[in-house]
Symmetry: C2
Subunit: 216 residues, 2 copies
């Protein structure tokens, strides 16, 4: 069966809930995961697991961004991941410059290559304050660019763009997402550190959603 | 001295003339060349030569798109480069899906990384009929996306977007561009084949401009 759409699946919580959400809408997605030089390669293993559980086709694309950008703490060879609740400054060090646009542009290329015209990604409103490439005005502009730049008029869709992370967790609960198969921590260690910005944010989202994180 | 802007320099005619054009405006560009798995790596050697002649900083970025897209005749491992004047069909096989957006997104990341907010590329109006990612509406949309998606509001500028290739040649003549340091042929051989779409187009552009190509 042909794929109806592409989902960028990092293996994190948001994109995993997104995969279940899109399946729930009756679509058959092709899953795309980027091995872009991130320290937390554990998320890639989680993405593979989700693809297996959902029995969906899955491509892992190697894109050595860590050879290009040296300064992001998120990338191999970069500085240490900061701890504590996100502040503008601490989160800034985790920015991979223009990352979402790069991944979306490559994913749109894959869509074009395969005659697919819908591309989903898991941006939500919590990230908006600090990451400009999670803001609705960016999502609209980048979608316009892929529509105009491809024969196939590839459209970018971010169904959670107006949701908080807690609302994404709630949607995951509704859809019985096995949260144990998702990885958030930016450090590449055996268990989540519980201290980095994304660990703190995940904990708060579960609390706000009144749900239990199996990893806790 | 800091760089004022970035130019994507493929080593082809258009982007080389663009480098001279931007220098002529008094800017000091950082040159960026992509080693993206193209067969015609000779253009990369040409880009290096231009950077040396102009005494500008130059980054060559490896981005193995040929591992991602298997079907483009432009990429290593793809089918043969078609010969003869561009037709819609023959040129289609040379398309690397969404290539310009991918390269522009990475280049915008490099700009963001270095506090640069202007990014130039050499799209011109000849390419427009077939390559959607050379059209003005794409250029506007992708510039809007990089502006919105980066802290630095990176803007994409294509000064030749309304020019024909012959007009680009004329601008090169005006600026004394050493055309021998540019490479157009899509085949990766020792000398230009003279038969592929881009060779035919180059020949016509020189003829229309009333200029002589040193390679001819």
């Amino acid at each position: 069966m042909d794929d109806d759409c592409i989902i960028i699946l990092s293996g994190g919580l948001d994109s995993t809930v997104l995969a279940y959400h899109v399946l729930d809408k009756g679509l058959r997605p092709l899953l795309l995961t980027f091995d872009y030089g991130q320290k937390h390669t554990k998320e890639i293993a989680m993405a593979k697991q989700t693809a297996e559980v959902l029995n969906l086709r899955h491509l892992v694309i190697r894109l050595p961004l860590n050879e290009i950008f040296k300064y992001s703490s998120l990338l191999k060879g970069g500085s240490d991941i900061p701890e504590g609740r996100y502040t503008k400054e601490s989160q800034r060090s985790t920015v991979v410059p223009n990352r979402n646009m790069i991944l979306l542009a490559v994913a749109a290329g894959v869509a074009e290559d395969r005659g697919i015209s819908k591309l989903y990604y898991g941006a939500h409103s919590n990230d908006r304050a600090i990451y400009p490439d999670c803001r609705p005005e960016f999502i609209d502009a980048v979608s316009e660019a892929t529509k105009k730049g491809t024969y196939n008029n590839v459209e970018i869709i971010a169904p959670f763009k107006e949701c908080t992370k807690a609302e994404v967790v709630k949607e995951g609960v509704r859809l019985d997402v096995p949260f144990k198969n998702t990885w958030s921590c930016y450090k590449g260690e055996k268990t989540p550190c519980g201290k980095c910005g994304t660990c703190v944010e995940r904990k708060e989202a579960f609390k706000l959603a009144g749900a239990k994180d199996p990893g806790d």
